[in-house]
Symmetry: C2
């Protein structure tokens, strides 16, 4: 081992510690002790082990670094500044409102792949990227992920490990910062390195236990893991929180606290430890040469238009599966992930044609979303994930963080609403619209027949944001001609006459039921205009206003979803500043149960007969508010 290198990297570690202290003192907030425990790890990674470009931090062939313990952001920022990416003076803008050096990393910074800070999530993203390098991009880049020990209590971590070992991602290296301290207490396992090792080994990892403050041991460990190509690796680094901070090191009282009045003496001590005060960390870097990548940016379209005849009974989940296959035919940018329900979501059609671009994440929705998030940050990929709408709730926190990461993957949720039938409430997605609508910058599409379902998937592929496509289990008749054109933010008027008295807005099964209700009411001389909402977010406010106005300002929304956050609230919300539209709402108003789909639609007032009755009630002023 090169003893000068060891000494230099140790010096750099202390320099990074000093930055972390000074940065968190700016606002008096942040986590300097959580930075200090990984100072040697960061120093060794950024100034020796990793192959990357300071000029092009997100280069497709550069090693990736994910800081899963996002609260240690200051030391990560300090490493990039010392590597020469930006002026070190900028470090002292940490957490200020006009600085992108936020409390936790976000991709507002040009060297951050994904936002972290909700613990246990970074590793899911990281294994997705490692999968890309090894199996899709077939590139030599490696993926490094630093986790906290407290963070390893999150189940999402273990989903990620199972994924990494099942797919044999030997280009993935996790580093666990075992400083024995969580936020409010010691961790469960404290310094029980043996149990850590057993757990990671049982999950298929090559595990190396090191002193996390020993540069030489870290260098050897990274080298040793690079040399093997059999398993993913983990470095279990025993560390001290606040390492080398006299009076603070190892104390449980110093989580998330700036050092303030203690800073000067600690910094003086750290300076005294630095052997070569004139060291320039940049001098340790070799600038890896990366050629400019060729990036496929062509937006894929369906290889052929929808082929369903009007009236044909098809499930929208099936049509969505067909669309994925057609997109795959048209473009190798498409990647599809599923969670062991590919024979229900019909992503198995994509898998059959493009096995190398299909990833089964098994029954583990958190890593499903993590992998999609990671893949979608790699150049050129257009990533879809699919499972039952209900089970997507398992990954709400991952979706929340994906939104903060400006992620662009697409989600297809199947089996929405009570119309799934006999399986019962636990399998019914009844809050999925509420969840996906709440994500900043999301688009939510809700196709009602096979033609619109294929087009919704195609539209999703072209959008530079997180998109949710809601699909249904039962077969429903095709209501649009093959050539019908759909747009994001645009609804469709399906039935219309000059004498319409009410605008009924539906989606999915409730649109079909609403159409039948409108038909049945014609004989009673009640004229109903029917709108297919299609784009739940952004909502087609202009058309709703125009059509509602033509229908005497009277609206009825009907949805196979709970009230809160659903279509009725979306419509009411967009009309609320007008103060002139009457919006009645039908929705799933209590806990559902098992039963036949039609019986359930009727039980929850979503069937054509119940919709027709509701409209009659409105007109007979029976409606109680």
């Amino acid at each position: 081992m090169d003893s000068q290198l060891v000494q230099d990297l140790q010096d750099v570690a202390h320099i990074l510690r000093i930055h972390s202290i000074q940065m968190t003192d700016v606002t008096g907030t942040g986590h300097p002790t959580s930075c200090s425990s990984i100072a040697e790890i960061i120093s060794v990674l950024f100034f020796h082990a990793m192959k990357y470009s300071v000029k092009y931090p997100l280069h497709p062939s550069g090693d990736r670094f994910i800081l899963s313990k996002g609260h240690a952001a200051p030391i990560l920022y300090a490493a990039w500044a010392e590597a020469g990416l930006f002026d070190k003076k900028k470090l002292l803008t940490l957490r200020l409102i006009d600085s992108d050096l936020e409390g936790h990393p976000t991709p507002r910074l040009n060297f951050i792949d994904v936002a972290t800070g909700s613990l246990g999530q970074g590793i899911g993203v990281a294994v997705g990227m490692a999968y890309d390098a090894l199996k899709i991009a077939k590139d030599s880049y490696r993926v490094y992920c630093v986790l906290g020990d407290g963070e390893c209590a999150e189940g999402s971590v273990w989903e990620s490990l199972a994924f990494a070992s099942f797919y044999n991602l030997h280009n993935f290296v996790a580093i666990v910062d075992i400083n024995e301290l969580g936020q409010s207490d010691y961790t469960c396992l404290r310094g029980d390195l043996d149990t850590y090792r057993k757990r990671w080994e049982a999950f298929g990892f090559q595990a190396l236990v090191v002193d996390g403050h020993n540069v030489q041991e870290l260098l050897s460990a990274f080298q040793s893991l690079r040399a093997q190509e059999s398993k993913p690796g983990v470095i279990l680094a025993h560390t001290k929180k606040g390492a080398f901070f006299p009076g603070i090191e190892g104390s449980p009282k110093w989580h998330g606290k700036a050092l303030g009045s203690s800073s000067k003496s600690v910094i003086d001590h750290l300076l005294s430890l630095i052997k070569n005060r004139s060291i320039d960390p940049k001098s340790l870097l070799r600038e890896d040469q990366f050629s400019a990548p060729t990036i496929n940016t062509r937006l894929p379209q369906l290889s052929e238009p929808p082929q369903y005849d009007m009236g044909k009974e098809v499930a929208t989940r099936f049509a969505a599966g067909c669309a994925l296959k057609k997109l795959g035919d048209a473009s190798n940018r498409i990647i599809v992930c599923d969670a062991d329900v590919k024979n229900s979501t019909f992503t198995d059609m994509f898998k059959a044609s493009f096995p190398a671009r299909f990833i089964d994440c098994y029954i583990a929705e958190q890593v499903l979303v993590g992998v999609a998030t990671g893949l979608s940050r790699r150049t050129g990929h257009i990533v879809f994930l699919s499972t039952f709408a209900a089970f997507l709730t398992r990954a709400f926190d991952q979706f929340r963080m994906a939104a903060i990461s400006y992620s662009t993957f697409k989600v297809i949720g199947t089996h929405c609403g009570v119309s799934i039938g006999e399986d019962g409430g636990s399998q019914m997605g009844l809050e999925d619209l509420a969840m996906f609508r709440s994500l900043p910058n999301s688009v939510v599409l809700y196709p009602s027949d096979a033609v619109s379902a294929e087009r919704a998937v195609e539209l999703a592929a072209g959008l530079p944001c997180l998109v949710y496509v809601r699909t249904s289990r039962p077969s429903m008749r095709t209501i649009y001609p093959k050539g019908e054109v759909f747009e994001v933010g645009k609804s469709k008027i399906c039935v219309k006459s000059p004498s319409d008295q009410i605008l009924v807005i539906g989606g999915g099964v409730t649109l079909i039921e609403a159409l039948d209700a409108a038909e049945s009411l014609r004989s009673s001389n009640i004229h109903v205009r029917v709108m297919d909402i299609f784009s739940v977010k952004p909502i087609d406010k202009a058309s709703i206003v125009e059509n509602a106005t033509e229908c005497g300002n009277l609206i009825l929304t009907v949805e196979d979803h709970y009230l809160e956050g659903g279509i009725g609230e979306a419509v009411s919300s967009c009309l609320s500043p007008f103060g002139m539209f009457v919006v009645h709402k039908v929705f799933v108003d209590s806990l559902p149960r098992s039963g036949k789909p039609r019986e359930l639609l009727d039980m929850f007032d979503l069937s054509s007969a119940k919709i027709a009755q509701k409209i009659k009630d409105i007109f007979e002023n029976k409606e109680k508010q």
Copy 2:
């Protein structure tokens, strides 16, 4: 080993298989092959190993059984019918709309503790109950939980194992049905029993590998685990999906399919395997004697009223922590769970006084909610859980299932909105109202000062449903006198005059800002009525209508939350059938960032100055819709 007993239990297993086939044939839906792989496990548990009462299935001292793989519900129902709880004929109502024998178990049935069917969740509930028996109720009951092997991919499972071993729950026994098949494929580990064993052992379990169709091995395993008191136990049962179904056993093509035309020949085969066709499974039962429990049903109140002087600056999260402590003083029914943030949620005050009734679940929000769900189903307990509002999204699926379980635990979310400041977007709860509003039968309270925060927690304790209390990080001035009375479903009018021109509705920080805005506008001769929403769900529709009417039908909502599913949509939604109220909305309209709380309030138009400007804009008709 009693060979007659072994034979009898094997016969019972086949009888349960036959029921499962016949039951799923009624609607032609369901999972008979998933039932068959656990037939011997169920037989041994229900007709020998478990101590329970058929008369009182939920008796506080009876062993608990949680079917985490809820899709095997038919065989569970069949076991209870054969045990004599209800008429076997009723089994043939499976999945019919008027039957409580649903596709997946729910507590509509008097022998089901909690709903299962979203995989990986039952075990979290089960370890919560095991904790109760061992540490709180100090009762001798044991907890058994059957999981599928595919299900073990869920991270929530590993959170539960870490919890069980950390708290040394030796009264807990997991049984993993390793039939090697998920829904759409073989599982990752297939029949790699050695890796299963290593994983469970590494997570602190006593692991026994058995042939899951060998009654004798199962009997020995349950006996051996009962005899030890050092660790939680797991039986890793190697099984076959569709075991003893000729032509179906072990096939990957038979997940979730009724046998239909194959049923007769399979049933004939099973009948041929039964040695004693006249066996009555009930004869194997001893009716365990349980005395009628004494149940504390007294609703606790704060041991003393809130003690904050008007104007005093206090964070609502702190007041909520104080309230928990006061409730604990008043009643031993209160249990508090936290996720390693007790020094931020201030549940550490409760812990200091009542360590035996405080449970730290560490950084694992899924098991946090699972444990609360389990505990809240045990007699007499009133269970609170607390963590950052943002991180509650990690457990949305658990909350969803808790709602289907009619759970009654209470959730305190802290650190809502941009007002947390420098930590940035990943730590801000901005979709928590959307999430908790969407749960059926939930109550959502949002206190705006310390007095109302204490009362919100007290109200929550008394409600027989799932309650969410939203609290804030910054200190805010106390605006209510100590004796103020709060009610669920009731808002408060804080500022009012006969000449009010607009009703501003706020909550938390935005209420305080709205009050300041109203004050500042008085000099401009603009009269603003200010409402504290307090009860977001149920919403105080009557008061909103009455006050808005008195304010010229003009409303402005201001909230530290995203638009979708928040207060503005809740207000718009409840007024939508009137068609006469104009509702303007201010909310967090884009991704937030790090900054000082006041800077962020201003950036997102939530500060008093921005609210005042917004009101002026409305009156000057500058407002674009």
